[in-house]
């Protein structure tokens, strides 16, 4: 509810853009999974206008939503009707035993058949023209056969995905997308679509549930958002979001699924090589050398999955929702400038992930590969987001301006020893940290503390009221963190013990 109130009030006051970005990129506060991510993304992708006239947001967003639903229904109904027409077109031919005459056929028909109006409308199924019903049927069946197989083995542990209606909905979304854009189905697209569908459904169902027992003060608010995220519009909203995440006006994920020529340099291969070679070198030359020179690991071996699925198999669903908030915020800030997926924060996150598990990766080639194939659970993705944004926008001119880093104790908690069976291995790995690396780590922590202090020092008018209540607490916490950094740097011999 707080999310909806925040969006509503800031839209009413005509300052939605700033408020939305700050909220979406606030990794210091608790981030509930039910934060209406699908609504955020529709705003960030421009499917719902952000620069809306103050106070008119409900009206405009409702119109956009109805347009989306109408467009989807028209497109899907049209497709279903054409498929039915294909079925009926086949039946008369079989029944009559006629061979129709058309410009491609070498057959000639008797004059009596040529005069039959019905015969003239029936195509030769062996020689379908471009755009004919038979070509459409073949294309749809091909997409359905492969996508169905992948959807059948998508076993997310949610009741929603047990329903056959869900799989049919996803299949229809994928088929319509491929036909509209003339793309073949590629493995992985099914998971992107399923993730978007799940979040749309979760958000709409939550709103419907809240609307049954609303507090009086919130009734108008809830009614408004129920019309913007209607439960019967989940397919339409999912298609629209999916199309934009994949498409040129959005995240351009299609570049990592399709290439223009069969043997052309793949964009996904280029992105993988760049991540493991250039971006990782910026993060850590030692790890870069180990991965690329000593091990000779090919970036494509693990990055194809990381990047194509936007990390859906590396992190939990709620964590992925938070990461997509980051990706789409960057896309929003790029506006109409040239946005390049290969040079986006999506690839920079991969480099952060490599650095984050550096100790595991330095042990040996086989262990490194196993770690890359199965990335370890991360308690707080905020830490990775922080590393990524600092590397991406160190001067905070862009996305860094809106970002609030996670509270520091989380970072220390992430560094505490893992469960018993892994402690000895970690102790061994920690002992390998050189003094320079220890200093680099502490420097990273110092930089994030400074960033947080700068944010407090020059808050926006919106942030002022939110931060005032926490200033004293933040101040005390910052002092504690600075003391820890001091201890690590002053007692360097103890640093190994500390991390072990």
């Amino acid at each position: 509810m707080e999310e909806l109130r925040n969006i509503h009030h800031s839209a009413q006051e005509g300052r939605l853009e700033e408020a939305l970005l700050r909220r979406v990129l606030d990794f210091a506060r608790h981030r509930p999974f039910r934060a209406f991510h699908s609504l955020r993304w529709r705003l960030l992708l421009g499917l719902l206008p952000v620069n809306v006239e103050a106070g008119r947001h409900f009206q405009e967003w409702e119109e956009c939503t109805r347009a989306e639903i109408r467009d989807w229904n028209e497109m899907n109904d049209n497709l279903q009707q054409r498929l039915v027409a294909t079925d009926s077109a086949v039946r008369p031919v079989e029944k009559k035993g006629l061979v129709s005459k058309d410009e491609f056929s070498s057959f000639s028909s008797s004059s009596s058949c040529a005069d039959d109006g019905e015969s003239r409308t029936v195509e030769n199924p062996l020689l379908p023209g471009v755009g004919s019903l038979y070509a459409l049927r073949y294309c749809v069946d091909t997409i359905r056969a492969t996508a169905q197989k992948d959807l059948d083995r998508l076993h997310w542990d949610f009741p929603l995905f047990e329903k056959s209606t869900t799989r049919k909905a996803l299949l229809d979304i994928i088929v319509n997308y491929c036909l509209r854009h003339d793309y073949g189905y590629k493995q992985g697209m099914h998971e992107i679509a399923a993730f978007i569908f799940y979040l749309n459904h979760t958000d709409s169902a939550l709103l419907e549930e809240i609307s049954k027992t609303p507090e009086e003060a919130d009734k108008a608010l809830i009614d408004g958002f129920c019309r913007i995220c209607p439960i019967n519009g989940v397919m339409a909203m999912t298609f629209s979001l999916f199309e934009n995440v994949m498409g040129a006006s959005g995240l351009r994920l299609y570049e990592w699924y399709h290439s223009s020529e069969e043997y052309a340099r793949d964009s996904i291969a280029t992105a993988s090589h760049r991540t493991q070679r250039e971006l990782l070198a910026e993060f850590d030359p030692v790890l870069h050398h180990q991965m690329n020179v000593v091990y000779e690991i090919e970036g494509t071996s693990y990055l194809i999955r990381w990047l194509r699925l936007l990390y859906l198999r590396e992190f939990s669903i709620p964590q992925c929702a938070d990461l997509w908030d980051l990706f789409l915020s960057e896309r929003f800030l790029a506006r109409h400038d040239d946005y390049t997926l290969n040079n986006s924060i999506v690839t920079m996150l991969a480099a952060s992930m490599l650095f984050y598990v550096k100790q595991d990766l330095m042990v040996g080639c086989i262990d490194a590969l196993k770690r890359l194939m199965k990335y370890p659970p991360v308690e707080d993705v905020g830490t990775l987001v922080e590393m990524t944004i600092m590397q991406r926008d160190p001067k905070k001119n862009g996305i860094g301006r809106y970002f609030t880093p996670p509270e520091r104790h989380e970072l220390f908690r992430a560094k505490t020893p893992p469960p018993m069976e892994e402690t000895s291995a970690l102790a061994t790995s920690s002992a390998l940290l050189s003094p320079i690396e220890v200093m680099n780590q502490q420097g990273t922590i110092l930089a994030s503390i400074i960033a947080r202090l700068e944010l407090l020092w020059m808050p926006s008018s919106d942030a002022m009221s939110n931060d005032a209540g926490h200033a004293a607490e933040t101040h005390a916490r910052t002092i504690e963190e600075l003391k820890k950094v001091r201890d690590v740097l002053l007692f360097s011999n103890g640093s190994k013990t500390h991390y072990a």
Binding site: K149, Q187, Y263, A264, A269, L309, I366, K370
Partner: protein, 217 residues
Amino acid sequence: MENTNLTFKVVIIGDSGVGKSNLMTRYTANEFSQDTPATIGVEFMTKSIKIEGRDAKVQIWDTAGQERFRAISRSIYHGAKGAMLVYDITNQTSFDSIPTWLQELRVFVPATCSIFLIGNKCDLEHLRVVKKEVADRFARENGLSFLETSALEKTNVEKAFEWLAKSVYDLVVAPVDAAGGRRPPLNAAANAKRPVNLGASNDGQAAGKKENTGRCC
């Protein structure tokens, strides 16, 4: 040299859905899952074995069945000493794709790579559409070894990988040892005897028949 640990790279390729991932997990971890998601990119697992009395480690790279003729294929095949071409005996299309997979494989791997043709899901005899004789003939004509497996029932999975490892050893490692550690000339390696299709020999048939009495294949 005699004490050096051996490491082989093996790739598993074939159409989507034929059971490549379950072949790998059955062999390396003795696990089969009906819930295996579609492979995106590659998956990687290792298995320690003994071959000719020596310790060896097999690196198994399981690929996505949809990726073909892409730049990414080059890196996946690089350094592979053995390959499994997998089709589903209940899916004619997956067998019809084998020539294309073989053609792609030949482009990226050396002539010394040992290639096995694997017909998976042989537990589904009642749904069979690819006759064993047809696949066997294709294998002989193309110099491949051939075996039918069931990852579900664990039929011939261990045998397939052991044969592949033995074949790799005989073709690549043993000649190096015999030459006193020096790498044999390329043309000599290329002319090395092609792997025998053990499934087709009389001895192999007898052994196979006896071993699989009452079971499929």
